[in-house]
Symmetry: C2
Subunit: 80 residues, 2 copies
Amino acid sequence: MKARVHVRLKTGVHDPQGKAIRNALVGLGFSDLGEVRQGKLIELELGEDDPEAARDTVDAMCRRLLANTVIETYDIELEQ
Amino acid sequence: MKARVHVRLKTGVHDPQGKAIRNALVGLGFSDLGEVRQGKLIELELGEDDPEAARDTVDAMCRRLLANTVIETYDIELEQ
């Protein structure tokens, strides 16, 4: 089973990477642009086949390593 | 309209970040784990309301700035 994790900075946390991307895009002429935020995409192949167990495992991975839950949120998508 | 862009290293391109994450997860006891790949998540707010035009704009952003198409692929999701 595969899992896809999105890790994002929480709303209100300053995102200098997103701001730099936004400035660069505006400089290239893409001016009709609101906020830009950059996060992380982490894709994992799991041996686990049960969706509920897989989600629990990935949730534990996020809390223990993949996300800094003080400043980041995460969501998990599973695909067979 | 909001756009979400995933930027991933192409298959076969060495991914040291993904490998480091995998090693750390195994070290934490998550041993039933195949490959781990890390990519980027970029979320943009667009002034454009037409989905087709928005997709074209974001595609141009990817080709010109967000992705290095020599070693990376990208996909675009739009939401109203």
